[in-house]
Amino acid sequence: MNEGLLLARVSDRPGALERAVGLIRRRAFAVRRLSISLAHDAALELLLRIDETHTSRERVRQELLGLHDVLEVRDLGAAPRLTRELLLAWIKPTAAPQAPGAARVVAVSAEGGCLLELAGTPAEIDDVLARLREHGTVFASVRSGEMAAPEHHPAHDNKGES
């Protein structure tokens, strides 16, 4: 699948998020993942993973920029390297060896389950979850949604946090 990422910074005002999400629905954009977080300057950051077989990310970028709440839209490209997602999954203790080395157990329940924490790319998280489920060892799981960082440290363009 041909996918790309956009990072939209949106003014945190009443209705702003709804307007941005409503635009995606109204224009029938093929957005595969959407995650929302609060930026250092109190703006909202929307990370959109776009299926470019249906929608060009430039078109999405232009349409988002047509909204007055949208402060900026960064094109993170088709294959940004710095994307991460967090997985929390309650699993059977016997499944722990099947988890990758980067995973760690952060809690154990009285019923004998253990809570696994794993950070990785969305594709890595998909793989791990699929493998665990194959063995019927996942009780429940939550994912944080995708996060992406710019390729350059902010200091490079003199835009450090203030």
Binding site: S11, R13, Q62
Partner: protein
């Protein structure tokens, strides 16, 4: 002494924004604002009989003047009734500010009486929306609303104000904690400008397609200068018909579903299309894959996202036509396109040959009626406001040299019921011009309660109702594409002249062709308002027509009179 409130200051801010007239309907949650309107004494308020009509009237006011129209409604049903008018303005790029009352903040979110999340409801049909939460934000919100409504591609903006905020005492304005982004003005791209001039010089079959952007930007004179200097044929969309004189030898007429045969074929044969201030919507293009197969398309529009939603332009220029169209007109190399013109002239320009617009039994045909009416409208330099349906297309086909801002219609949304209230707005905006309303019997019945507004305000409208006893355009589609299985299109109507008289408006019925000229004389010579009930042939169809799904060159130029 009464203290000054947010509502008082709101009225003063409206005056400061140049608002002379507002259209609205009061109710519980907007009472403080109406009290201020009365005490401040301005702007002038026109009491409409339905909030949809208030929005259409503000729309008509804005289209006729270029200024921002303002409409007002209360919370709940008042606000939701605005939606069709807001959507119309959004689709057709009409600057408008809608003000709605909201339940007090103390009960908001409790399903209070007449509470609706109007910001949420109107989000897809407004350019932006504000909820005024603090008195300190008033000035900024009002100023931002007007700026957004008229900047870039114009559109409607909604300001929702809880009742307690309207009643609040004025406080000093505070800066916004989270400012809105100001849309950057498009920079003049000299390289692109030069490249487009080169293409215009090299093309063998160049064509201009002009839309409402030319009207909004007041650049019709520059369009004409450009076309004449470079000998360019000009196609004008439904909303751009008044951007270029229809009787100009270089005018090809309207493109698309009910466009002229010449315009449709010209688009398909052109090797360069210069699109100026239009969206290339589906009614204009037909299936995009078959649109203008030979053309390099250059799209110039202020709305960046619009470029690329439908047709893929080879060159896109994000620009305000105010900045670039006069420059193109000045810089273009004068030339002649003799071969191209001889090819174009092989296709008919008129929508119907003269022999086909009279019926043998002297029945009143819609085509005859439209042509006679269009001639009167042109001669008197009247504003014409059409509704939606067959009559809308007939008027569009027969419209003569309309000056900019004199042809008003709901193009993008196609909202039946638009004409009468929008004409009220246009007539109030332009009291020295005569204003014609042209509506079908179906659309007219959607907002005819506004005859009461017309009578109360003594608005001198001339109202022509094309009365064929059908929802005509739907019937035409059922005849042509559903084997004449008429479903829910036959329409009974009141006796329109009698109804008009009940509102205090003189009315006459026209039954046959022989009565038409006399009735039009009467309508023109009356001080107005007047109503003509034009009982036209029942099953007349609009042609030319590009069948749905067909390419423009498959346009069908069928006989105009069907089963008369």
């Amino acid at each position: 002494m009464t203290r000054s409130t947010v509502a008082d200051e709101f009225c003063r801010l409206l005056i400061g924004e140049g608002v002379a007239v507002v259209f609205g309907h009061p109710g519980g949650a907007i009472l403080p604002f109406y009290d201020s309107l009365q005490r401040v004494g301005a702007p002038r308020h026109i009491l409409m009989r339905h909030e949809q009509a208030a929005a259409h009237a503000a729309d008509g006011y804005a289209r006729a003047t270029g200024r921002t129209g303002v409409c007002i409604a209360t919370s709940g049903p008042g606000a939701t009734n605005l939606v069709t008018g807001l959507a119309t303005a959004m689709m057709d790029s009409v600057p408008m500010v809608a003000i709605t009352g909201q339940v007090p903040t103390s009960v908001r979110g409790t399903d209070a009486f007449q509470e609706t999340d109007v910001l949420g409801v109107t989000m897809p049909v407004t350019k932006h929306g504000f909820s005024l939460e603090r008195a300190a934000d008033l000035t900024r919100v009002v100023q931002e609303a007007f700026r957004i409504a008229r900047s870039g591609r114009p559109g409607p903006v909604l300001i929702d104000i809880p009742k307690d905020v309207q009643n609040a005492a004025l406080v000093h304005a505070e800066p916004a904690t989270t400012p809105l982004r100001r849309m950057p003005a498009a920079a003049f791209d000299n390289t692109l400008f030069t490249r487009i001039l080169e293409l215009l010089g090299q093309a063998e079959r160049p064509l201009i397609m002009a839309g409402r952007g030319v009207i909004i930007s007041d650049t019709a004179p520059a369009l004409r200068r450009l076309a004449e200097r470079a000998d360019l044929p000009v196609v004008t969309t439904l909303l751009g018909l008044d951007a270029f004189p229809a009787t100009h030898p270089q005018a090809l007429g309207m493109p698309g579903m009910h466009g002229t045969v010449r315009a449709c074929h010209a688009i398909q044969r052109a090797d360069l299309i210069l699109g100026l201030g239009l969206r290339f919507d589906d009614r204009v293009t037909g299936p995009v894959r078959s649109f203008a197969p030979n053309a390099c398309i250059v799209h110039i529009d202020i709305d960046t996202p619009a470029a690329g939603r439908t047709v893929r332009a080879a060159l896109r220029m994000n620009a305000d036509l105010r900045a670039v169209l006069p420059a193109f007109a000045d810089a273009v190399t004068p030339r002649r396109c003799a071969e191209w013109w001889s090819e174009l002239q092989a296709w008919p320009r008129a929508a119907a040959p003269a022999a086909e617009w009279t019926a043998p039994d002297h029945a009143l045909t819609a085509r005859l009626t439209t042509r006679s009416l269009a001639a009167r409208i042109a001669a008197a330099r009247s504003i014409v406001v059409t509704d939606v349906g067959q009559h809308q297309m007939w008027i569009a086909q027969e419209l003569r040299d309309a000056e900019p801002r004199t042809h008003l219609t709901s193009g993008g949304l196609g909202a039946m019921g638009y004409a009468l209230p929008a004409a009220i707005g246009a007539a109030i905006a332009c009291p020295r011009r005569s204003v014609w309303v042209v509506a079908g019997d179906g659309g007219f019945q959607m907002t005819l309660q506004e005859l009461a507004t017309v009578a109360q305000e003594r608005i001198p409208l001339r109202i022509a109702v094309f009365n064929n006893g059908y929802l005509g355009m739907v019937r035409q589609w059922q005849e042509l594409f559903y084997d004449r299985r008429y479903s829910a299109v036959e329409l009974s109507s009141p006796d329109f002249p009698c109804l008009a008289r009940a509102f205090g408006i003189p009315g006459r019925a026209v039954e046959c062709a022989g009565q038409l000229a006399d009735a039009l004389d009467w309508a023109e010579q009356s001080p107005g308002p007047v109503l003509l009930d034009l009982r036209v042939a029942r099953e007349e169809n609009v042609f030319p027509m590009v069948p749905p799904g067909a390419a423009l060159h498959e346009v069908v130029a069928a006989p105009v009179v069907g089963a008369v």
